[in-house]
């Protein structure tokens, strides 16, 4: 059969066999059932039985055939699938191969393109290599690439040179062309001039006596010859005179009526100021501030003569030690009746310090004790040390002098610093070199230690300007909700009020306090960082300036005159506690001329699940903060750090303030004088003049008081002088006119002044011309 030829697969052979068997079985069954075969030979029942047996066999075979068929189909399916997979794989590989071919072709193309790329430098007409080597022999060793670069660079330089030369030549060419053109023009105009000259020559010959000006017209009358063309008849002298009168009248009205009215109505009132005096004050020519400090000696145990002697020798030693004569110490015996009686109470000087000499038996060397709460220095000495009247330089005097000198060293340095910073002080340097041995403020500044000088300079920079009233504002800021209350009343009473009371002679104070919750840092401010080593949150020193969130924290200055000094108590959030300054681990700092900040890190309340700040700050927990604040207040007010006695420091402050106010008022006077001189258009009302005279009188009063050592009175008058000086300088009505310049007025009235002015001026000019001409004619 053909099937066997087609189907060669081994797995299909059993199928074929089975199908052949089945077929045979079918044939057998058919044969058995064939009716044409004699059926009589068999019993039909038997036949049926046999048929059924055959049928069963056939069914079995059929079942087997079906199973094998199914297997074959599955097999085919499997084969197909594996074939398809194999084909896919082949396709993929084929595609990859194609891609590689493409890539190869592309790359070869690129390489070919690169190879055949024709760069400009190949076609550059460079100088030959040999010539180049002659020029630059150092290139002989370099390889061809570098050589080419060098050659190209050389070519470039050469070409630039040539190009420059070409430009210059072009310029010259242009210039020559221009020159040519000009010459041509000249020639052309020469033609014209010639033509005109010829024309004029013709006219001249036709009427030799041409009359234009009035002078020639007058001449024409005298000459008998009459003009050919009708010249105007000569003007009569009375007509000319009338015209002169008319113009003169107009100008007379303008000059004698118009200008005075204009002057009167537009002038500004300028009260006369003593400019000279004011400048002199500013230059320090009038007042030389001196600070004679009176020191009283109480010598209850010494006889009068010995005391006098001790006083004299001490004074002598002091004068020898002193290098700065503007500030000197005057010693006096407290019970010196001659001094008491000779001076009126007005001229009596304030006592700066009282020195009490107390004898003590068991002392080998004298000892000094400064009283903390009074201006008193106790000097303990043993009676044996009292100098005999003969000794010229006893050790006790030297000791007292040195002690006094030490006490007033810082004050002296401060005053020297203040004076040397200003023009007044500087003037003292130059103006009075001969009057004392060695009194330059700079000299004393040089003599003190640089650290002290630095301290003084810093304190003066930080301290507030002097004012009558200072407003103190204590604020509690916290970024969260707690603490929301503090024992502020008690704290102020306890820590701040004593300081304020001691300052009462100098300034007045008001105190406000506030509590501000939810006060966050400004969004731009640098955040504190956690420092592992200090186990604390830290702020960098440079970032402290951004600590105050000025936009959101209500730190508005107090209403009313006088500056506000702010003290900020900042309690950081529990998550950022403790908060320190990184560099110094400090928790407080001063903001110069503004106030102070204290970061208070209260113990956290650990009882609650998350630590919180205490809701109330007791007076005890506020203690460090307010002690710092009182210290900061002293610094901001400019109080010196030595000596330790507060009254002495306050006295020093009075003297320094008086000196500063004197200098500041003087320099304000100088500024005002310069201002009035440089701006002639500003008005000076009468009250400014009054203020200036008040200032000047109070300045000289201050100076007198200083000279007499009455420092309280000096401060009082210096305050008046400063206030008046500021008032005169900042007078409102002086600035108003500056902003309305004269040009504006002219612009508005130009439509009137222009058309009216032009004929007037032209008429005047004509008259003047005529007048000059007639004068010349008369002379001729």
């Amino acid at each position: 059969m053909a099937v066997r030829d087609i189907v060669a697969d081994e797995s299909l052979l059993p199928v074929l066999n089975t199908s052949a068997e089945t077929r045979e079985q079918c044939q057998k069954l058919l044969a058995l059932l064939d009716p044409t075969i004699d059926s009589t030979s068999r019993d039909p029942k038997e036949a049926a039985l046999a048929a059924s047996r055959e049928q069963k066999q056939l069914f079995a075979l059929l079942a087997r055939l079906r199973g094998q068929n199914r297997d074959a189909v599955f097999h085919v399916r499997e084969t197909k699938q594996s074939t398809a997979e194999a084909r896919q794989e082949i396709d993929r590989l084929h595609l990859q191969l194609q891609n590689l071919y493409y890539e190869q072709r592309h790359l070869t193309g690129e390489i070919a393109a690169c190879d055949s790329y024709d760069h400009k430098y190949r076609s550059l007409p460079l100088i030959p290599v040999e010539e180049f080597f002659e020029l630059f022999p150092e290139h002989r060793e370099s390889d061809s690439h570098e050589l080419m670069i060098a050659r190209i660079n050389h070519e470039h330089a050469e070409r630039e040179k040539l190009e420059q030369a070409r430009q210059e030549l072009l310029k010259r060419k242009q210039a020559l062309i221009a020159e040519n053109n000009k010459r041509k023009e000249d020639l052309a105009s020469l033609d014209q001039d010639l033509e005109r000259f010829i024309d004029h020559a013709l006219v001249m010959t036709s009427k030799p006596e041409d009359s234009g000006s009035e002078k020639t017209a007058v001449d024409a009358i005298m000459t008998p010859s009459t003009p050919a063309k009708a010249a105007p008849s000569p003007e009569k002298p009375e007509v000319a005179r009338t015209r002169f009168k008319v113009i003169a009248a107009f100008w007379a009205v303008i000059i004698f009526l118009g200008f005075p009215i204009w002057w009167k109505t537009t002038s500004i009132y300028r009260a006369s100021l003593p400019i000279e005096d004011m400048s002199d004050w500013a230059d320090g020519k009038i007042c030389r501030p001196v600070f004679p400090l009176e020191i009283r000696f109480e010598t209850p145990s010494l006889p009068d003569a010995e005391a006098q002697h001790l006083l004299r020798t001490t004074q002598h030693t002091l004068d020898d030690l002193n290098e700065f004569s503007a500030h000197h110490l005057r010693l006096k015996l407290s019970d010196d009746p001659s001094v008491e009686n000779s001076l009126t109470p007005d001229e009596k000087a304030d006592t700066a310090l009282t020195v009490r000499l107390l004898p003590r038996e068991d002392l080998t060397a004298p000892r000094a004790e400064l009283q903390l709460d009074t201006a008193q220095l106790d000097v303990l000495y043993s009676p044996s040390q009292v100098p005999p009247p003969s000794s010229s330089n006893p050790p006790l005097s030297a000791f007292i002098a040195a002690e006094l000198q030490r006490l007033f060293l810082e004050e002296k340095a401060t005053i020297a610093h203040v004076l040397s910073d200003s023009a007044v002080g500087a003037h003292i340097n130059t103006n009075t070199p001969s009057s004392s041995n060695n009194q330059q403020p700079s000299a004393i500044l040089n003599s003190i230690s640089p650290q002290l000088a630095e301290n003084i300079a810093r304190r003066l920079r930080r301290s507030m300007k002097y004012a009558d009233t200072y407003h103190l504002a204590f604020s509690l800021f916290t970024p969260g909700a707690e603490p929301s209350s503090w024992d502020i009343q008690a704290a102020v009473q306890e820590y701040i009020s004593p300081v304020l009371q001691s300052f009462a002679p100098i300034s007045n104070f008001t105190v406000d306090t506030q509590v501000q919750l939810y006060a966050t840092f400004s969004p731009t401010a640098p955040r504190p960082e956690y420092d592992e080593s200090q186990s604390a949150w830290t702020l960098k020193k440079d970032d402290l300036s951004a600590f105050i969130n000025a936009a959101e924290w209500p730190l508005s200055p107090s209403i009313g005159s006088g500056p506000t000094i702010n003290f900020i108590l900042y309690v950081p959030a529990p998550s950022q506690s403790p908060l320190l300054v990184k560099e110094s681990s400090a928790t407080s700092w001063i903001i110069p001329q503004w106030g102070g900040v204290f970061v208070l890190n209260p113990p956290l309340d650990a009882a609650s699940p998350s630590p919180t700040n205490p809701s109330h700050l007791s007076q005890e927990s506020l203690r460090p903060a307010f002690l710092t604040f009182s210290h900061q207040l002293l610094t901001l007010l400019g109080a010196p750090t030595t000596p330790i006695s507060l009254p002495l420091r306050l006295q020093t402050l009075i003297r320094v303030r008086a000196a500063m106010l004197l200098l500041s008022a003087s320099s304000t006077m100088g500024s005002l004088a310069r201002l009035t001189e440089s701006l002639p258009s500003i008005p000076i009302p009468a009250n400014v003049a009054a203020s200036v005279s008040t200032t000047l009188s109070h300045l000289s009063l201050t100076c007198t008081h200083l000279r007499h050592g009455q420092f309280h009175a000096a401060l009082a008058s210096a305050r008046v002088a400063e206030a008046e000086a500021e008032r005169s300088f900042f007078e409102k009505s002086m600035v108003g006119q500056v902003y309305f310049p004269d040009e504006h007025k002219v612009a508005v009235y130009l439509p009137l002044l222009g058309p009216v002015g032009v004929p007037l001026v032209v008429g005047l000019l004509k008259e003047v011309k005529r007048f000059v001409a007639s004068r010349k004619a008369k002379k001729a």
Binding site: E195, S213, A230, A481, D512, S556
Partner: protein, 590 residues
Amino acid sequence: MLARALFSLLAFVALAPLISASSDYHEKLLLQPLPQSALLASFTFQGNESQQSFDERHFRYFPRALGQILRHSNTKELHLRFTTGRWDAESWGSRPWNGSKEGGTGVELWAWIDAPSDQEAFAKWITLTQSLSGLFCASLNFVDSTRTTRPAALFDSTGDHPASSNLHLLHGTLPGEVVCTENLTPFVKLLPCKGKAGISSLLDGHKLFDASWQSMSVDVRPICPSPDECVVQIDQTVDIVLDIDRSKRPRDNPIPRPVPSEELVCDTSKPYHDYDTCYPLESAAERGWSLHEIFGRTVSGVCPLAENSEDNEPICLRVPHDRGVYVSPGATESKDETGFSRCFSLDPSQPFDLLVQEQDATVQVPLDEPVLRAERTIVGHGQERGGMRIIFDNPSDTQGVDFVYFETLPWFLRPYVHTLQATITGRDGIRHQVPASQIIRETFYRPAIDRERGTQLELAISVPAASTVTLTYDFEKAILRYTEYPPDANRGFNVAPAVIKLSQDPPVYIRTTSLLLPLPTPDFSMPYNVIILTSTVIALAFGSVFNLLVRRFVSVDEAAALTSQTLKGRLLGKIVALKDRLGGKQSKTE
């Protein structure tokens, strides 16, 4: 009546703890949906500082900035109002706080100042307005003598003042001031929690000034529960009526969009109703809203200072009890017996939001009818004269209303009081004129002085039941000086709202809207035109006269001879020569 009762209850609740504690702080928010999808939000912040620490300038609950100003200007009692918009009494009923916490449109300020004389009181008043102007970023410094009045019967001091003090009441308004965010920021800064915690965290300028009506108030007064224990009380309120639909629009996309067609509910009974034609039905259900949707924020916890106060439910909502309301976890709700109010206590550490469901309205929260309606308009035409018409409508059928009517007019509006006429219209619509004295029981009139003070008119009026009274008077408009006109002179000049005080207990205040008065305005370029025109005329006249006097007159042919020598003649010669040359050149080229 109920709403008023509630407000007085609130006021009582706010005042009650005050008696026990000397210095403390409370805050409260009341939310009440109003008809027409409006929502009234009423914020109250109250701080007390004991008089002693106020005098010693230790400020804790009281803002230091304001305290300083009050001390410096000797002000004992202060009332400051910033208001925009109009309270729609027709739909919204009577006003919150009986109108006592609102001002006229713009800024209104009145204060009791302790001063020995009127002049000194006025000087202090100027100090006060200047300082407040800086504090609140408002133009209060423009409250000068022309805008300052001393009301006779309008305001009663609500604080307890010592009998020895010599108090002066001064009142000033700025009807043209536009209240905006820059006023809110300093207002919020005065609060101890500064908008960072508690209900004040909802105060957002964007939403607040998008409201239909808005009023901020600051009241400072001393209160003495017992003679030796006084406190200074600062009461700050913000009342706003928000449009719920408008507020719910997202901030980045605030343009209203049409309802998508599938969401439209149509009135099918309309004859033209079709598949493409629709008459939209208003939804009968009450709008749903939440705090976050309306204010753009949620309440961030509780202000810790207010936490300790006895009244520990800072937020109250006034809706029927069957309305579905959901709140954030941690908050507890307590309903009251009236059936219309519930309050919430908050978890201090968690943000709080409140969601009111959209629901068909079955029960309405009753709104009480206003006792009096008032309206004031300018009538008449022309630039010279005009008239004022004030209409008082008494809706009650049984009771007459007695009240004080106060108005302050700028000096350039000169009323003729003799033309004051009254008309009564009954419910039947019949008008009949009555003598003014029948309506007006008392008059206080203080005429204006040009450029110094305005007119002050206070009338005690009684309106009979079920009738409408119309008062009219004529006025003349003054012509201002050139420099007195503001830059926007043609816009008109603001006339401050009239204030009406109903003599009840507590007094009810009603304010009319502010008016715009058009004044005759000149052409502002006039002075320059005049200067230039007159200058030209004078110059012309002068020139001709001067020339007549000075010039020499000659005949024409004489003049021709003269001209050749003058500048003009020489110039002409040159031009001729130039022409010749050009002509010559042309001939050469051709």
